[in-house]
Amino acid sequence: MWKIISIELYKIYKRPRTYIAFGAIAALIVVIQLGLKIDGESYAGFLMKDINDTLTVDGKVLNGYLICYILLQLLLVHVPLLVALIAADMISGEANLGTLRLIFTTPYSRTQWVMAKFIAASTYTILLLIWLAFLALFVSMWVFGTDDLFLMKSNYVVLIQENDVLWRYVGAFIFASFSLLTVTSLGFLMSSMANNSIGPIVGTMSAIVFFTILSTLNIPLFSIIKPYLFTTHMNNWKEFFDLQVDANNEAIKGSILNVAKIKTSLIVLTVHIGLFVIASVLIVKKKDILS
């Protein structure tokens, strides 16, 4: 099985399209970091408008940790498209090329090939996320320095001490990997149903947009299905950056406000990944390879 996984990884590595996503992420991050380096103070000032009326904030608010959070907020909405470019092409791309019949006449079962392809696509997704993490977190830390993380959410502010931040980012990136793997598996499923990649790529993004709208609209009719939609849970990496408070409204260092929410989201995402992959295997096993 390792043989065919390595073959699939080799094909991804050799293909020029693979590097588009890495380049796009690098370009996006560098541009945003440059913008914030030049004009970040006015951006921070805008965010802290309400706070500055009451309080004086002393310290390096616009530090690498905050920059990373801003980058993740922006990019983790757009990175799914880059993931879909590869994942939604894994099977349909080969069907379109005509090479699917080459690999399906080798002494490995279709299930093995499908699993190998999924593992390879997942590896690509994780590598993309690691690249994102390196640029968004470590390069930001290097360029902007570090300090406490002063997070301005919609309705409240969280101040996380500097030595309490890094492990949260590790947790958030691990969580984000589940979110992106859900996109990978969805793209993979779409790919198993088509003979060219345009449909699956567009289909994957359309599904994400559609379900995101259902997840974010506060309409009672949708509230029944919301807990089961993967898009409802994809952005819960942010839960790593919220603290519990005690009876004296004192934030508890090292705590997470809603651990149960993170666990539930991970379970929902894992179930989605499992269902999408199983469905892909069943579809490919059953279909006649006519391409």
């Binding site: 309080l55 004086t56 002393d58 300090d147 409240y156 502010v157 500097e162 309490d164 409204n249």
Partner: protein, 241 residues
């Protein structure tokens, strides 16, 4: 007019001017030096030329979640004060830190008026109101709650010109003899906090629940510093401020 009547009028005017001068003199004399308790407090404060202290700062504002932070506090006469968080971001009430006892009393440009006694945390304290006589000062009125026996101020309530009102509560321990508190609580009014969802990219929240929570929020915040390890009169560089 007859000469007698003229003389009587002149005398009356003279006495009025004399009284006015005396009254003005008297009013001008009704300063810190004339309130013995304020004088005692000032004398106690004058024992300290400078200090450095380590403190633990606790922020209690309804829309802020922050854990305890270690701070270092620097003071130098007459009223230089700096609170520095040891690494990290600190939140302090705007303008409130500067409204300290030293900044109130060192100017000596105020009228002190006793306003009776009040019970505060089990102690009977003398209430004295300070009204500034110098328009340049940035506060409008300040009320002090003072223990007459120890000349320690336990509470101040100050209305500033630009930054609202501040309530400062103090507790004393080991350094009471120097008039230095073991705990200071800065209380202040807070404004509502809100960032648009389009900026924070937080969608899907239950707006009704959030609005309900906000309505329950207190409009007041406190910042509490518990002091330890005062280093008194050992010299503090001006560069600290």
């Amino acid at each position: 007019m007859s000469a007698t009547k003229k003389n009587k009028m002149q005398a009356s005017l003279f006495y009025r001017y004399f009284l006015l001068i005396i009254m003005t003199f008297c009013i001008n004399s009704l300063d810190a030096q004339s309130n013995p308790l304020i004088e005692k407090v000032s004398q106690k404060l004058s024992l300290v030329n400078d200090y450095t202290a380590i403190g633990i700062m606790k922020t209690d504002v309804s829309f802020i979640k922050a854990s305890l932070g270690k701070v270092k506090v620097y003071f130098k006469k007459p009223n230089l004060l700096k609170i520095k968080k040891e690494g990290g971001i600190s939140l302090l009430p705007k303008g409130g830190v500067s409204v300290t006892l030293n900044s109130l009393l060192n100017s000596k440009q105020f009228i002190a008026m006793e306003s009776g006694k009040q019970l505060f945390k089990g102690k009977e304290l003398q209430v004295i109101k300070l009204i500034p006589t110098d328009d340049a000062l940035d506060w409008v009125i300040s009320t002090l709650w003072i223990d007459a026996s120890t000349a320690l101020v336990y509470k101040t309530f100050t209305t500033t010109k630009d930054n609202g009102t501040y309530e400062i509560t103090m507790e004393y321990g080991t350094y009471a003899d120097f008039g230095l508190p073991s705990k200071v609580i800065f209380g202040f009014n807070t404004k509502d906090y809100k960032l648009p969802n389009g900026i924070t990219l937080e969608f899907g929240e239950d707006d009704a629940a959030v609005a309900k929570q906000k309505a329950l929020r207190s409009k007041k915040g406190t910042i509490e510093i518990t002091y330890s390890n005062y280093v008194i009169n050992k010299g503090v560089s001006n560069s600290m401020f």
